[in-house]
Assembly symmetry: C2
Homo-oligomer: 322 residues x 2
């Protein structure tokens, strides 16, 4: 099977048709008509087998997650998704693998109205690079540099689940007594099928907030906001939103260091000025989006962690590729 | 050195500043302001070490070529380059390699006014994926489907040189008697430093032409035009534009099969209706762009090759990754 047959068979049949895609896959370039009154938000993320997902991950989950982590960057900007390019490197042209991959990809693309507009297929170790474009008003985009001293700090959903899923999969072969049960299934699903927080991000554009998606770990990602804004943060560890499944796994004794440095949850971390708190909370509630206040932005730099008002010495650690 | 230090040090210091980049590298997304009266041309190309360039290729040439092959896709559409995203996978965070890579990349980015607007750095086998965006008028973009029976077929520059460069490098270790001399240096430069034909492509938007860049080989790429347009082609092999260096290498006895199926030249192949020929040729001449007529589009499908008016049986072969 030639590269071109592959492309035609699997990638050309994009599920989502958009009127702003004037020419899709199959020429030297796609031709796209951007909206007149918006700017473009653009991001790129690469996922490498054995680095960004366990080698045992099934094709459907890889297809889903590759798009999800890119959509999560749009969410963190408050943008509305539009177009994706897919560069995929494969050890071999495996038909059922590609079918599975596109099934996972298309499931999420359809949900968020994303058109696949082009890409490249090459032979090599399994890796997926997606370039995603969304629309956003440049004045209301959720920049990391928007945080001010006194702002409250929030996260959406729960954190720490995905790491338990990853840890369980990676330690499978090392131990006979691998944890199992409903709570592990839940955590593995949180690892493989993260929900990009697009609606939350879009709603937040009504407020002067800073935002980031949690991909490297809460502390590392909050630190990016602090550095970009020239501020610090006070984190109330005991306020962190934890799932029942995570509490079950840790026997109600959470490993805070791990939870603070665990990536892959793809929840949003964002700030909000005090005079906008009640309006913002009400808007989130009306859309049934769970958010939790976990601390506040400080004028002095650095992140200080408190557990029941006592200062703690957690390491600022996140995932580091090198 | 952390991934973030790397990104800051090497990628954030983009050489080219554009007014339409409202927010560059360093947030979850870049924010870009597209022009009001144009559509976007978007393409993605991946280069993998040992597949798309020899493993011995130096960092400068990899940086240059990664951008060049993407710009070539914009050229084949007649688009004006604007923004690039860079996803790079590296075995290790090697500072001098990254400096070299960015030097080659920036050399070409500066020439064509391309801003680096984002990307992702990961650890893994060496591979580079660039997503490029340019501006084009959707009505005059050089689509592959524009060819009509009776149109003349042209190529820019010369073809077949890059393959000689590649073949020499790959066979270096196999033979003691490796070819050397000025003509080999020229062919290796043609392999590593292709000139994307942006000006030629932009000039061609004044005419109803079909175009493609020659990345997989003349016959394979012309065949893409033919398939997309529902036509065939008659190729006059003896008219192919060949460099003095290539003729020297082949001892004035060119290997036509190789020349027809050699990729990596990144010249443009395009069609032109008869009633526009003199106008088009004059425009190209006034910009000192060499073009050569190598055949004509036929109503009957398939590509037929003629050498001094005798039909030949060359294989339709191009580079196939699988």
């Amino acid at each position: 099977m030639s590269e071109f047959d592959l492309i035609n068979q699997f990638f050309k049949t994009t599920i989502v048709k958009r009127n702003d895609v004037l020419l899709g896959i199959g020429d030297d370039c796609a031709i796209l008509a951007p909206p007149a009154n918006k700017t473009l938000a653009v991001s790129t993320d690469t996922l490498i087998s054995g680095v960004h997902f366990p080698e045992s991950t099934c094709a459907e989950d890889i297809g889903y997650k590759s798009l999800a982590v890119n959509l999560s960057d749009l969410a963190a900007m408050g943008a509305e998704p539009a177009w994706a390019s897919l560069a995929i490197s494969l050890p071999e042209a495996n038909k059922s693998w590609l079918q599975g991959f596109m099934q996972g990809f298309n499931e999420l693309a359809e949900k968020h109205n994303v058109s696949l507009i082009g890409g490249d297929t090459t032979q090599g170790p399994l890796s997926v690079t997606i370039n995603i474009t969304g629309f956003v008003d440049s004045n209301t985009a959720l920049k990391r540099s928007n945080a001010k001293a006194g702002d409250a700090i929030f996260v959406t959903g729960n954190i720490g689940d995905a790491f338990i899923g990853l840890d369980t999969i990676l330690n499978k072969s090392k131990s006979d007594q691998k944890p199992s049960g409903f709570f592990i299934d839940y955590c593995i699903k949180r690892l493989n099928r993260p929900q990009p927080r697009l609606k939350a991000g879009q709603l937040l554009t009504a407020f002067p907030v800073a935002a980031i998606d949690i991909s490297d770990g809460l502390m590392a990602d909050l630190n990016h906001i602090c550095k970009a804004s020239g501020v610090g943060a006070k984190l109330k560890i005991d306020k962190l939103p934890l799932s029942a499944e995570l509490m079950h796994y840790y026997n109600k004794n959470p490993d805070w260091q791990r939870i603070l440095s665990a990536g892959d949850d793809y929840e949003l971390c964002f700030t909000c000025p005090e005079n906008k708190l009640s309006e913002m909370k009400q808007l989130m509630r009306s859309h049934e989006i769970d958010i939790t206040c976990i601390g506040e932005i400080t004028a002095s730099p650095g992140i200080k962690c408190f557990l029941n008002n006592e200062i703690q010495s957690f390491k600022l650690a996140g995932y580091n590729h090198f």
